[in-house]
Symmetry: D2
Subunit: 109 residues, 4 copies
């Protein structure tokens, strides 16, 4: 397993975790209304990250296309999460940006 | 494909659709706070229904256990959705109950 | 739900079914070796079709990108299945082509 | 995040990876026919492990039931993989057993 593959896989799994933690935390916030887009994008991003991790580990012939999509979803989720001051949102934004970069680094290899 | 298999598969797919429509509609409601549990259970239920539909069609050796779990999740989601007057919640509750029954009918066959 | 949305969603679900049936049937064939690529692509295609159906029904903001990917996977799976004379492969190839077309028709709408 | 939660989550992710690596390697083996059950169970096991990891991180209300199912699938996959001398099968069997134990340790907590 080469270094960029391992880093990208780990970034996808870390991002899945951060997005799902943020999703759960957003659903428990007092002002859920203002977190609605964050909840929606957290699910989108967790789901594509989990899908990408499965695809990478099964040696999918479509890994470049899947990681391109994953990077785009991560960036959109990071943009939304970054708007909110909650610690779970800030951590999620960071995990999303790191994952988007790792996906792009692997694709361009 | 026997009748109970076909009915159960269709019920899982219909329930996945109804839960995801309800999830999207709940996120757009004015009072998102009171829909938080509904949003959470809609995702849980859509995900297990999609998982069950995949498992049924690939002839999974674990189909009985998966459908047992699916029926339980559907019942919990139906209970939550039934509390809300929104049409999307009422429709979702109905699809969930139908799916729970179809799963149980298939298992007991 | 407009007509092209409904047709695309149904095509994704039909394709998921056909791919999983073909996957199961290929694993039971006498000459599994020559079915290896078919097994691999059936799983790829069933998984992206299930993912797309979930994304469509939850009103994902990434539906165009997801359906673009889905159409590409369907075409590759159709090409592989079409090489084999088994009825399950021929039916799968047909479901894949139909799904690729429905995805493209919906995107271009 | 408590210790047993973290161990169980990591075990699910490690098992997903091992199962998907084994699945890919089995499809490339000379004698695919004798690996058919291994291929089938690898997919079953990778899919439920990925599902469980998503459920754990989103704080699913059904985590006990999902991990009970996950442990059972892991044990069946371990039994099948243990029959084959390939290194990828032996490693997969080990990851599956570890995951089954971690799931049970977390449930019984």
């Amino acid at each position: 397993m080469d270094k960029k593959f391992a880093e990208c896989l780990q970034a996808c799994l870390d991002c899945m975790k951060a997005c799902n933690f943020c999703y759960d935390a957003c659903l428990k916030e007092e002002h859920v209304k203002m977190m609605a887009e964050c909840i929606r994008l957290d699910r989108e991003c967790a789901d594509i990250c989990a899908f990408a991790a499965q695809a990478m580990t099964r040696n999918s012939p479509f890994i470049h296309q899947i990681l391109t999509l994953c990077a785009e979803v991560c960036e959109k989720c990071a943009d939304e999460c970054a708007k909110h001051d909650h610690e779970h949102c800030q951590r999620c934004a960071e995990a999303c940006r790191k994952c988007a970069e790792a996906c792009k680094a692997y694709i361009e290899e």
